[in-house]
């Protein structure tokens, strides 16, 4: 096992797959010679050549569309969108084409494309380098949506995504690239090498898509989170000394509702935490499902914590970010409700 941060783990996943499968190609803005603005594809072009690791024109539409065409011609493209905030010009190709192709052609054509894109805030990126758009993909049938919270999962899930014959939107919480982040920007940064999930096998392995993970067992409440918020939730629960069960959703579509509901049925209380704006966010789907399945076991209203329903403002990054305080006060409300 090696120590890897999330960038290295993602790089390793692509490296493994480029090596195993000559059909795998990597493409995106600045991903080739330069190795990506976050260096996630560093060294891959040197190793596999500029015909398998492609710099592209600045057109997210063109990146998605050409990846679809390549996939239909037998390749297995891994496309990078430089920031999730810039995925919208490719939205039509994702929604109307990538997600629909298998269905509309009754399975004759399909496009095993993985779209990787850094998401989330906490890096002073302002409103156009901080978004978490998982909900606008979760609502689109025909596409899988994944968000890892640590290097081990990141590599295993990315390999699963590339091997999957369905298209996958692979959202990378960029605040976690270098280390776990518990929501407190004033604390010194912790590297992944100090974390168990920073131990990553060098070779091929998979983490299954559509399986949530119970990160920590607990009895008093269930906290459902994904991406950066898994770490924030854990810190908030610890700060309160709460015996909370913490679940990392990992796969947003298809959602592992069973694992979530089974836990809530045991604890009777549920808080959902994500970084995306709250209104109409994916937390709503989780809440709606949980109340449906666990109504008779619920002892308190399901809580939801998210980003405020505003753009992500540059100067108010930490007032905006759903940090430990916001999670903790939601937990307190959750535990005191009766």
């Amino acid at each position: 096992m090696a120590k890897m941060n999330m960038i290295q783990a993602l790089n390793s996943a692509m490296d493994v797959m480029l090596d195993r499968d000559p059909g795998v190609v990597v493409l995106g803005e600045d991903v080739g010679y330069f190795g990506g603005v976050f260096r996630t594809t560093d060294g891959l072009q040197r190793k596999y050549g500029e015909h398998r690791v492609l710099d592209t024109p600045i057109s997210e539409l063109g990146i998605v569309a050409s990846a679809i065409g390549m996939a239909v011609n037998g390749l297995r493209p891994v496309a990078e969108i430089q920031f999730a905030d810039y995925i919208y010009p490719g939205y039509d190709q994702i929604v109307s084409e990538l997600a629909r192709l298998r269905y509309r052609s009754a399975g004759e054509f399909y496009a095993p494309v993985t779209i990787r894109t850094p998401c989330g805030g906490g890096i002073r990126g302002g409103q156009t380098h901080s978004q978490s758009p998982e909900a606008i993909f979760a609502h689109i049938c025909g596409i899988k949506v994944v968000m890892p919270s640590n290097p081990y999962d990141a590599k295993g899930l990315l390999i699963s995504a590339i091997e999957d014959d369905d298209p996958v939107i692979f959202l990378e919480p960029k605040r976690l690239y270098n280390g776990p982040f518990d929501g407190d920007p004033d604390k010194p940064a912790v590297p992944w090498s100090a974390h168990a999930r920073g131990e990553v096998p060098e070779g091929h392995y998979t983490v299954p898509i559509s399986k949530a993970e119970i990160v920590r067992a607990g009895r008093d409440a269930t906290i459902i989170a994904y991406g950066t918020m898994v770490h924030v939730a854990e810190a908030a629960a610890n700060a309160l000394g709460l015996d909370a069960e913490i679940i990392d959703v990992r796969t947003i579509v298809p959602l592992d509702a069973e694992t979530l509901c089974e836990s809530v049925k045991r604890t009777g209380r549920c808080l959902i935490v994500h970084e995306a704006t709250r209104f109409g966010g994916f937390g709503a789907e989780i809440a709606a499902t949980v109340q449906e399945e666990c109504f008779w076991q619920l002892e308190a209203p399901i809580g939801r914590v998210g980003g405020w329903d505003t753009p992500y403002p540059h100067a108010f990054e930490w007032e905006y970010f759903p940090g430990q305080k916001r999670v903790a006060s939601a937990l307190e409300a959750l535990m005191s409700a009766s």
């Binding site: 592209t56 057109s59 569309a65 239909v72 298998r102 025909g142």
Partner: protein
């Protein structure tokens, strides 16, 4: 807003509206044989005369003239005539069945048959086609049984789309024809991606894609052009300029001050404007562009000048926005008639054989229709199993869809 000021906005106007006399004087035409045929290694810039002129082979006396004459054997031309005529007969019959309420929707390619038929014939079976909804001729050439197309139109138990798509939204993996999308222009950059993959794999196949001139305004057009140029992808990028996009004429897509083909050289992509109703010219241009692509010369943008003789679709009534008989004065004639007259002039065809062929194809279409309706129509059984609705959303059905499938089963009792 001061309303006393006069607007300076330019608003394109079609030459004729209902009640006016048709007027095609805006069309820049050239006589057959006027354009030289350059070597396929020509630079994009040097194609500008080809992109603003008009490649034509069939002249007014039904002879094939000039450098672009592909010198095809009579048998090839007869096959082309047959495919075009079959396309037309098929379209007419399907239009009628829609009027009778037996299919929900239809779109004809009347007047544009040469584009799909000549291009499919000039390409190889291994070349991949990314069509729009008005390229049914591709299926005729590649030989898909009519019954299979009809079953799609009927959304019946043998529907290739399993009931999921509107009529005419075919696909054919085995025949290398891509799935048609309801969203315009999306196939254009996808074809480029397919061609990039062919190049990456070192294969010899080319891709070919078709969009309407109206559709060329979408951003997908631009992405396709840029990616095709940057990677020199082996792809034929076709704009079928049939003068109309539903109710708006080609000036609203940017055709007033330039040709569509002329965009090519601007992007560094060779452009050719071809008489889309001239089977021989379309064939020759396609052959040239495919040859260029196979030799590593990269993409070619081809504008087919033609006319949408029919309504946009069965939901449309063109007499509301253009003179009813405009097609009769279309200066480039009818593609079927022109090839027929050429063959007759060559002594390789007769009116009698034409009538007989027409009858034969009508019978074939009629018999196919009969066979197809055995498998059900939209309103009469047998019907597809509604369970199919939940398949192919993903490769494997996830739990929530299985639950919904069961719920529907219960609902249906």
């Amino acid at each position: 807003m001061p309303s006393r000021l006069r607007s300076r906005l330019h608003v394109p106007k079609p030459p004729a509206r209902p009640g006016n006399k048709s007027d095609f004087s805006y069309l820049k035409l050239q006589p057959a044989g006027a354009q030289p045929k350059p070597d396929v290694r020509i630079s994009a810039q040097a194609t500008l005369p080809l992109a603003t002129g008009l490649v034509r082979v069939l002249d007014d006396n039904h002879s094939a003239v000039g450098a672009w004459d592909p010198h095809l054997e009579p048998e090839v031309l007869q096959a082309g005539l047959r495919h075009m005529l079959l396309t037309r007969v098929f379209d007419e019959r399907m239009q009628r069945t829609q009027r009778q309420g037996r299919i929900s929707f239809y779109m004809r390619s009347y007047g544009e048959e040469a584009v799909s038929v000549a291009q499919a014939m000039a390409l190889r079976p291994g070349d991949m086609l990314f069509p729009s909804y008005r390229n049914q001729g591709l299926y005729m050439v590649r030989g898909r049984p009519l019954v299979e197309l009809m079953c799609q139109l009927l959304s019946n138990t043998r529907d290739m789309c399993k009931g999921r798509q509107l009529p005419v939204m075919y696909h054919w993996r085995q025949g290398n024809i891509f799935s048609i999308s309801g969203n315009l222009t999306t196939q254009f950059p996808q074809a480029v991606g397919w061609a990039m993959a062919a190049a990456i794999k070192g294969e010899d196949h080319v891709a070919s894609t078709w969009i309407g001139e109206g559709s060329s305004a979408e951003g997908d057009f631009h992405a396709g052009m840029v990616f095709a140029e940057v990677y020199q992808a082996p792809v034929l990028l076709n704009i079928v300029n049939n003068q109309w996009a539903i109710s708006t004429f080609q000036g609203f897509a940017g055709g007033e001050k330039s040709t569509f083909a002329a965009r090519g050289p601007g992007y560094g992509v060779p452009g050719i404007r071809v008489d889309g109703n001239d089977f021989l010219a379309v064939y020759a241009v396609t052959q040239w562009a495919a040859d260029r692509a196979r030799k590593g010369g990269g993409p070619t943008l081809i504008e087919h000048v033609t006319y949408r003789a029919a309504a946009h679709s069965t939901s449309d009534d063109p007499s509301r926005y253009r003179p009813k008989d405009e097609y009769l004065s279309w200066p480039l004639g009818d593609p079927v008639d022109r090839l027929k007259e050429h063959l007759i002039a060559q002594g390789a065809w007769t009116e009698e054989r034409h009538a007989a062929l027409t009858k034969e194809l009508e019978d074939e279409v009629g018999a196919s229709w009969k066979a197809a309706t055995q498998y059900g129509t939209l309103n009469e059984g047998p019907r597809l199993d509604p369970d199919l609705m939940f398949e192919d959303v993903f490769k494997d059905m996830p739990a929530h869809l299985a639950r919904q499938r069961d719920q529907l089963r219960a609902e249906r009792g």
